[in-house]
Point group: D2
Chain length 358, copies 4
């Protein structure tokens, strides 16, 4: 169902880039959970635009206003609702898009889907701005999950040809993730960040954009979470991760690399560690067997396509004259979505885990 | 929810490898749809084991028995239910697994999840045998979709290092897919099949297994199907595709390759074709923008891990003595799941489209 | 799931009596539907308090603020969200309720359910005030349904021993319903209203309250809507009607009177009317057979309990000292909920039909 | 969704009166629950026809065959599936119904809903026979609930004008319910049974049928179960109870009698009992406040319409000639459904509680 998600929690997201506000409702949270608004702001700031040259220079006041669900800073068990006002919007930039759909955007498909009634200003309900709601909701869940010993973190795994040091699938630790999960443009290796920034700057100077991959880990998730078939960790994670605009691939553990692997190499051998806990020597499974957690770190990667809004002239159609046309998109856009999408991936993981653990 | 799937149709799958039967219920199908049982048998035979050396030599009588939902071969609108009896089972092969969980299998995670009550015989409800139910249900949906002009087909895209010719993302046709979608070990290039069979045979002779990738296409899906956010084509497809055991990655269109692409390269330019239809010159989007179909072929790939059951000795644990242990799995197993999983991927795509189009 | 409802539309309601705002999100509405805000205000005014002596004298500014989903007054297909600010709240009235739960209210059960974290001010998320959100969402749906030829209306069927003239189950017309569905304290017979007002005034003067029954009809619903078993009209209607606080019974058509009826009397004989349409001579079925509409008027009644907040001293417990206690509730309360609940019942019916028709 | 039900458990029912079998799948049951098949047979026998003159003399071999979900008589956590073969069917009795829809039956509405494709033999998927699946699934849940201290029982509250002694809303006990819940034609007062049997016999001799009311109680349900708004006990119970064919009303506690009550009378005063537990002196709430259990007995009643199949000539239409027609239904039918529906109501209550407690 479009903008509602979850089986055990219910997430409902609304709004568009240029509506009065965007917002989020999160139902069935556990009661009596203290929520630190400052921690939420930290996460929202990581996603907010205007940081540096890797992102659009638009300034958005992403201050969430909680309308319900908290009393004296504590969850009441009733739906938690928050809105974020839309302020710095330039509606004139978008006047042309009903006629000339932008390649790589949802302008055309939304127009067919909604008989032309879709609010196209700033991408409307398809705007990446809506991920602010995911980050808000995820930031709430992360605080609850942390109290249950679960830590989530992500980094820019690749931007163009530049690659970061991947997580150690077996030993990635809470500390590793905490070192990442409050940073903007989180990476494991500072050198990788340099190279990535160079790729992004090159794209920007070319009036172009560049794609990338985000890797995310969750540690502290106990064994036995998830269900077979359609209730598996992978199913639940993918069902929300593909809700992040621009994601075109999701893989877990060794992911697509399993294609080249032998079973003897891919199988993760079980052993008892010094504390008498069952662990695996490798973690090609990404912490998931049969859809259910093994107790090892959960690991996934998402492929993020290059921002479709680019400054170069592109070929498109004129939907009124039914002829081919050219389009130059003006306005400010992110040359690379990856840095700002990192906290979104973490938030989605937090929501997925909250849903699975309720 | 574990073994139930779908928003507009409802799929419910039950049974285990060694229960009396496995079965499937499919609710909310359109009425008055003629269902050809012979076409269903063709699909089920493609998945059934015992074909050749690429697969287990177990023989399973995968004859579905329809219990309800059809009257004189036509859908009544009431739930369509079918069961497949379990016959050729060797229960003695599995007696040890409660104590020594097989690496790469769900034995350990299921045991934690279900407090040891899980039926471990043949993998129980986690068995790949359950995909017979998916193929049955998908084969029903495919006949309905074909009447609406939609054709689905898939091929072995990679097995180990051997690669098949990929689909032409723009021009893959109904005929291309029909040439594949009744074959066992479907490939676009006969040479690729040879190489793939060699990889599989090498693995088999090593008492090992090998992974691969399946590529699937659906043509004839009209533009405007799907919804934003969590109701997108990618979300719905992934939520069922990850229900196929052994799938560790799902990607659409250019998939993970978008990481290295510039926006100017990845964006698919729109144009009007000779029939006045909007099309795109490339199809990196895999036929999906903003979660909604563009009218171009839908394209996705799934990563299939190597069969975890291998003949080699492996390291595991003894859950009773809480010590490390070695395990040698006897019995007959597929050295590569890819050939038999091809019709399963097609079936999952059919179910996803049926759900989206209802 | 608590505060989310619907299979084909998704309704999400949030807020409490004394939170910053209450609000509602309605996803999957059809696009291109013009929504007249003035008609929404008419419905909300019918539910708003402060009308006359039958209702609480509290004044609530029930002005909905639409945040998204409409563009130039037309549905975009994206989630429609609206909030209603909470203004005239007297928090001090409710300070005692955590200790002394009010009989007939959710204070005690919510406290157990939410480990004492529930926001008890004004009943919190259990407050009848939340029905303003139902009325808003229903008023949106009614405008869409009217364009499809469907009209909904309700009246006070009973208040205490005073009874109104019931709807003619066979001939209740669009005009009959339109004469009711914009009025406060809607009744078919003015004499009945007089008697009902007398009952309410008597209760009010006794510092007490009185219950009643609301009868609701929907005309113009085509035959063939609904599904067997759990997808029936009755199931869907009841699942939302019981979301109205104070409802303790729901019946359709002849309802509980069927207990005393013979089959020969209860069965509604089919016949062809002058327009060649299948109709029934009686309508004991309330327009529903096998969960599916017959094309005759849909008829249901809901039992509304007397307002639990009364001025009289009542027996309760002290949850801190674990002793019995007495409680006198101060503040302003409705001596009878029935008049204000009429538009809520209509709204729930509209939402149910919208869900069934999507 | 038609024939699927539940949020935390998933119930899926399939089959028709004359299909090869009817069946049920129950997903997400807790593992490690011992299920006594004999207890299930006791419940199914209570619903089975052919007992005495109050019921149809058809003989149905309602022997459930478990296909999966149990291993050595214990739940595995995987979906529990069972089928019941259809044997003693007289297809010829129903040949006329596509043309002449039976008044009070779903023949006409199903025909419109499913474009004439519905399997009309014996009512198809709308047949009361499907309640055997509810009884099976409920009997499984009752065994699990009993281990958690919850007991369910019901009785014939009314048949025509004959009334049984109602449950004591405050003191109805586990023993009271156990005295009822294995009996056929369960009543509290033997005299009431006599009068009810007389009403049924009179209807039968008139080639007619008679309606009634069933009252059901559940004791031992702890306080704090259920949720506000649409997740309330009443919503969940009603959503499954209306899945029982012939139910036209559902009420809780004082139900429709609240219409005539003052708040001072209807409010249930809280007090501490001798064990320090919060209880209420009366139980007009039927154990539910704000949708959440109080810990007092849950009480509800359902109105059961007279069997629509009667021997008398009735008026209907000829759907082929589009003219009015007369119809005489042959075959064997229950003059009153109430006795056989008692275990069905109990089963539905058990399923609802299982869903709420998971």
């Amino acid at each position: 169902m479009a903008s509602t998600w979850g089986e055990n929690i219910k997430l409902s997201i609304f709004g568009g880039s240029h509506t009065e506000a965007i917002g989020v409702v999160l139902d069935n949270l556990p009661p009596n959970e203290k929520i630190d608004m400052e921690k939420i702001r930290v996460q929202m700031a990581r996603r907010a635009p205007g940081k540096d040259k890797t992102a659009t220079t638009r300034l958005e006041a992403d201050e969430p206003q909680v309308l319900s669900g908290l009393f004296n800073g504590v969850t009441t068990g009733a739906p938690l609702a928050a809105i974020i006002a839309n302020t710095n919007t330039r509606s004139k930039d978008y006047s042309d898009l009903k006629i000339h759909p932008r390649p790589g955007h949802a302008d055309y498909t939304a127009s067919v889907r909604y008989d032309g009634a879709n609010d196209i200003r700033g991408g409307g309900h398809f705007s990446g701005r809506l991920t602010a709601c995911l980050v808000f909701a995820g930031a709430v869940c992360r605080q609850i999950l942390e109290r249950r010993g679960i830590t989530i973190g992500a980094h820019a795994y690749a931007v163009g040809s530049a690659k970061d040091t991947p997580f150690d699938p077996v030993n990635v630790s809470k500390d590793d993730l905490n070192a990442l999960n409050t940073r903007f443009f989180a990476v494991n290796s500072p050198k990788a960040e340099e190279k990535m920034r160079a790729e992004i700057e090159a794209a920007r100077l070319d009036a172009d954009s560049i794609g990338g991959i985000i890797e995310c880990a969750a540690v502290g998730v106990p064994a036995g979470i998830g269900s077979p078939m359609f209730g598996g960790i992978e199913n639940v994670f993918a069902s929300i991760l593909y809700g992040i605009p621009a994601v075109k691939g999701v893989e877990f553990g060794a992911g697509f690399d399993v294609a080249c692997m032998r079973g003897s190499e891919n199988n993760d051998a079980f052993y008892y560690d010094e504390n008498g806990l069952v662990r695996t020597k490798t973690n090609n499974a990404g912490g998931i067997l049969g859809g259910i957690t093994t107790g090892m770190p959960i690991l996934f990667r998402i492929a993020v396509k290059p921002t479709p809004s680019i400054g170069r002239e592109q070929h498109t159609v004129d939907l009124t004259t039914k002829t081919n046309a050219d389009l130059t998109i003006h306005g400010r856009h992110d040359p690379c979505i990856v840095p700002r999408a990192i906290p979104v991936a973490e938030a989605a993981a937090a929501l997925a885990l909250m849903d699975l653990l309720r």
